[in-house]
C-alpha cells in the first residue's frame, strides 16, 4: 500500500528533493518497480479516459435532448425518399408475407373443394331441349339431301317453347332458349314453320321477344289471354303448355312460392311437372291470365319449377317500344275465363309454338 502511495506521489509530481532522487535511482536499478510504475500509470490513464468519455457522452445526451429530431429529419429527408426507404427496409418482409398469403388462399380453396366442379355447378336446370336425333335419321336426311338438294335442311339442335304476344307476330320466349342462335324458327301444332328474328333479348331476366319475319305469315288471330300486371297469390292453380316433345304437352300445378331459385324475387316457384323443352312456355292461372314464363327447375328437388314473373314481360314490351318503332298492342280482353280446362287448352295451344334454334 505504501508503495502505491509513493508511486502516485511520484507520478503526480508531489515528491521533491532527496526523496525524488532516491525514488528515481531506485526505479533505475529496480526493473520490477519500473514496470509497476508504468502499469499503474497506464491503468490510471484508462480510468481517467473512462471518466472523460462518460462525461462527454452524458453531455452529448443532454444536447441531444434539446434537439427536435423529427423536424431535423423532415428537413433532411424528402418525403419520397422516406417512402422508398420504408420500401427498401420492408420489401423482403412484404414479399414473404404476400407469398404466404397467396399460398394460404390457394391451399384453403383447394382443401375446401373450391376447384372441384361439382361444388360450383348450379343445380338449376334451364329447360331448353336438346333435340337428339338418331344416327340413322341423320343418315337418312343426308341421303335425301343428296337426292334432292332443294329439300329444306333441318338440323335443329335446341328447342323450347314460345307463345304469341300480339296478333301481328310477336312471340315471347326465354333468353336462354335462343342463346347462341344462328337462325330461329317457330312451329305450331299443325307443323307450319315461320322464320323469326330476335327483336329483344334480356339475359338478366331471361326474356326474349321474337318477331315473325316470313312472307307466308298473316296473323295469329286475336289472342285469347291477357298478361297479368299484378303479382299472383301463392296457392293459385296454374297450368302451362309447352313442347317437351314434338307435340303440345299440358302441365298443371300450383304457385308454391312468391320467390324463385335461391330467393330470386323476379321469379315464382311453381309446383308443376316441367321438362326440357318447356322453357319459354306461358304460365297461366285458371282464369286464363298469363302470370309468368316457365324458365327452369331445380334438379335436386321435386316439384320446383321456376317462372319469370309476368310483369317483366310488360317491362320488356315497354323498353322494346321505347327503343324501336315496334307496334305492340297487347290484348286486354281475356277469352279463357270461365272455360273448362279442356276448352282453355284447346284455345291456348294454337298460340303456343315450338321454338327451334339452329
Amino acid at each position: 500500500m505504501e508503495l502505491t502511495e509513493r508511486i502516485e506521489a511520484y507520478l503526480n509530481g508531489e515528491m521533491s528533493g532527496a526523496e525524488l532522487e532516491a525514488f528515481e535511482s531506485l526505479r533505475a536499478t529496480n526493473p520490477a518497480l519500473d514496470q509497476q510504475i508504468v502499469a499503474h500509470q497506464a491503468f490510471i490513464t484508462t480510468l481517467t479516459n473512462y471518466g472523460k468519455k462518460k462525461k462527454l457522452m452524458s453531455d452529448m445526451n443532454a444536447i441531444h435532448e434539446t434537439l427536435d429530431v423529427q423536424s431535423i429529419k423532415a428537413d433532411v429527408i424528402p418525403a419520397s425518399t422516406l417512402v422508398r426507404m420504408l420500401w427498401n427496409k420492408y420489401r423482403v418482409n412484404a414479399a414473404v408475407a404476400a407469398s404466404v398469403a397467396i399460398l394460404a388462399v390457394f391451399t384453403s380453396l383447394l382443401l375446401t373443394g373450391y376447384f372441384s366442379h361439382n361444388a360450383t355447378k348450379s343445380d338449376m336446370n334451364l329447360l331448353r331441349r336438346q333435340v337428339s336425333r338418331e344416327l340413322g335419321e341423320v343418315k337418312k336426311d343426308q341421303k335425301e339431301i343428296l337426292r334432292n338438294m332443294e329439300a329444306p335442311v333441318n338440323p335443329g339442335i335446341f328447342g323450347g317453347t314460345g307463345f304469341a304476344l300480339t296478333a301481328n307476330g310477336y312471340v315471347v320466349t326465354n333468353s336462354h332458349v335462343i342463346k347462341g342462335a344462328d337462325s330461329i324458327y317457330i312451329q305450331n301444332g299443325k307443323g307450319d314453320s315461320y322464320k323469326v328474328n330476335v327483336v329483344y333479348d334480356d339475359p338478366a331476366f331471361d326474356l326474349a321477344i321474337l318477331k315473325i319475319n316470313d312472307a307466308d305469315f298473316e296473323t295469329f288471330g286475336s289472342i285469347p289471354y291477357s298478361i297479368r300486371k299484378a303479382q299472383s297469390d301463392v296457392s293459385e292453380n296454374v297450368f302451362t303448355v309447352g313442347f317437351p316433345k314434338d307435340d303440345h304437352v299440358l302441365g298443371k300445378g300450383y304457385l308454391s312460392s312468391a320467390s324463385g331459385y335461391k330467393g330470386d324475387t323476379t321469379e315464382y316457384q311453381v309446383d308443376i311437372t316441367v321438362n326440357n323443352g318447356n322453357s319459354g312456355g306461358p304460365l297461366l292461372d285458371n282464369r286464363g291470365n298469363v302470370i309468368g314464363v316457365i324458365k327452369g327447375k331445380q334438379s335436386l328437388a321435386d316439384g320446383t319449377g321456376f317462372a319469370v314473373k309476368s310483369k317483366y314481360i310488360l317491362a320488356a314490351v315497354d323498353s322494346l317500344q321505347n327503343t324501336s318503332d315496334a307496334q305492340i298492342v297487347l290484348n286486354k280482353k281475356n277469352q279463357l275465363a270461365g272455360l273448362s280446362s279442356a276448352d282453355q287448352y284447346k284455345k291456348l295451344k294454337n298460340y303456343v309454338f315450338m321454338v327451334k334454334v339452329y
Binding site: Y50, L56, L67, D75
Partner: protein, 188 residues
Amino acid sequence: MSREIKSSVPEDSEVILGILNDSKKTLEGIYKAYFPMVLQLVVTNNGSEDDAKDIFQESVIVLYDKVKAGNFELNSKLKTFLYSVCRRLWLKRLNIKSRSSGNIADFEGIEAVEQDLEYHEEKDRQFKQMDEALGHLGEPCRTIIEEFYINNKSMQEICEAFGYTNADNAKNQKYKCLQRLKKLFFQV
C-alpha cells in the same frame, strides 16, 4: 437526391481549440452543425433515429480522442472527417445486422479513416472493460474511485463525505478498492 443541409457551421480551427479546452459550447456547436448530416445518412440507409444518435456520438468521441491525442491535422474538413467515420461505423453495423447489400447512399465526400477507427476500437474495448469492472466493484468502492481519480476530489473531501474517522482509513480503503478494480479489470 441530397438536400443541402443549412446550419451554421463553426470554424474548424475554433472547434479544435474548443475541444482541447473541453468547451461545452463547442460540443453543442458540433452537435447542432453535424448531427443532421449523420441523421440523413443513417436514416436513408435503413437506420432509425436512435441508430443515428449512437453513430454520431461515437464519431464525436473518435474526434475528441484524436484531437486530444494531438494528432488531428487539419488536412481535411472536420465535416468530411465526421462523415467518413459515421459512414464507416454505419456500414459495419449494417454488416452485423446483415441487412446491407453493401451499397450505401452517399451525401458527402469521404476520406480514409480506418486507422482512426482501429485506434478507437481499442479504446472502446478498454472503455467497456472498465465499465464492466466498475460495475462489478460495488459501493462504496466505486464512488470512492470515481471521486478520487475521475472527479479529482482530495482525500480530505472523500474522507468527510464518507464519514471516515481519519484520512489514513480512507486511504487504506481507497487502496483496497483500487487493487480490486485492477483485479477485475484484468480479469474480464
